[in-house]
């Protein structure tokens, strides 16, 4: 029973980073450390043999979440006083946290020493029937497709809630720096290309709709930072169709599957093609949703009286 030195270092760095970023005064520093935390998490997922998860964490957990946090902080900088603590309750809370931590660590160590097989065997047994050869994609899009369908629904719901909370539009007043513009010129075709590759690759190797959609969304956020008026103009008329194509496509395929079996039961021969089709729709919707969420959490408010650009 040995611990690899790398794992020990990684786990300690993760805990140390979480302490630094949550208890520090400067929020900007906290967000930067959060992005580093996300990347180290991606390494931890890789160490735990979860490459799909590592991809998703690096793109969405570190990248997009960091961008969202940074955007909102920038917008609220003037009223934000970072170093505050609720000093009356710090000492009791430290004691409470230590007790809870001790109990939970004890529980986790007990749980982690039981050898448990999990569902890996069952999934690998039925993998051939799913239409894809990656076990994670098979679980996400076929065996537990219901979860993914509802997840797309939740994403759409959050977009509606964000729009309902009050429309924002992207900040077009600050011109982008030369470095960002040059970087964007090089990176944007690569982002689109890698996104398409991840989408196609998801059927037989780590990848899939969420990673591809998040990468495309990241490309959209970068485009917003560099030339917002171009992207917003292109988005305006198409926004609803882009957001809806994923859930609608998945739902239609799920209902159409009733003809041959049950709701969401992909017919055996068509399963691979249908999964790719559904994933393509999901990629577009996830990308559009992430861009709308970024505008919502970092944009300027719409002018009173409903004046729009």
């Amino acid at each position: 029973m040995s611990i690899e030195l790398f794992d020990l270092f990684l786990a300690t760095s993760l805990v140390g980073l979480s302490l630094l970023l949550l208890l520090g005064a400067d929020f900007f520093r906290s967000v930067v450390l959060f992005i580093v935390f996300g990347l180290l998490m991606a390494l931890a997922w890789a160490r735990l043999n979860a490459p799909d998860l590592a991809l998703a964490e690096a793109i969405v957990g570190a990248g997009v979440t960091g961008a969202l946090l940074m955007g909102t902080w920038h917008r609220t900088k003037s009223t934000f006083r970072g170093g505050e603590w609720n000093s009356r309750i710090v000492i009791p809370h430290i004691i409470l946290t230590l007790i809870v931590a001790a109990l939970l660590v004890w529980g986790v160590v007990e749980l982690a020493s039981e050898p448990v097989a999990g569902l890996k065997g069952e999934v690998l047994e039925r993998l051939a029937e799913s239409g894809v050869s990656s076990p994670v994609t098979a679980v996400l899009l076929n065996f537990r497709g219901y979860d993914t369908l509802l997840e797309l629904g939740v994403l759409l719901l959050v977009v509606v809630a964000v729009q309902y909370a009050g429309a924002n539009r992207p900040d077009v007043t600050t011109p982008p720096g030369a470095a960002l513009t040059a970087f964007m010129a090089i990176i944007s075709p690569l982002l689109v290309l890698v996104s398409g590759y991840l989408l196609w690759r998801g059927s037989h190797a780590p990848g899939g709709a969420f990673q591809a959609g998040a990468m495309l969304g990241a490309a959209g956020i970068l485009a917003l930072l560099v030339s917002p008026s171009n992207l917003v103009g292109w988005f305006e008329g198409r926004l609803r169709s882009l957001l809806v194509v994923g859930p609608l496509l998945f739902l239609s395929v799920a209902i159409a599957a009733v003809a041959g079996g049950n709701f969401l039961q992909f017919p055996l021969h068509w399963a691979g093609g249908l999964i790719l089709l559904v994933e393509a729709g999901a990629t577009i919707s996830i990308a559009a949703a992430l861009v709308v969420l970024f505008i919502g959490s970092s944009g300027k408010p719409e002018l009173k009286g409903g004046a729009k650009e």
């Binding site: 979480s18 929020f27 919502g296």
Partner: protein, 104 residues
Amino acid sequence: MTAPLYGIAGVLIFCVSLFALAVRPQLLHKVLALNVGGSGIFLVYIALASRGGGEVLDPVPQAMVITGIVIAVSTTALALVLVLKLEQLFGVTRLSDTDKGGTE
């Protein structure tokens, strides 16, 4: 031995985030704490999933955590929009400490 190690790390991250959530009054700090706490919970979950051993991790928990990450981003985005709206309407980014409620 990696399962208990990452499990303990995940638990500690979660406990630190609970502490930060309670003790830091600024809303942006709370949103950050929720996010980090979510990551800690995912770490515990996957660490326990890795008990099975071998080259391939149990795909069901992995798929669930991928879904969880996307949901966490959505929740964070909505929370940030609400913080933004609060700041635009009331000019503060924290909740009131007094019992009267509102934004002091």
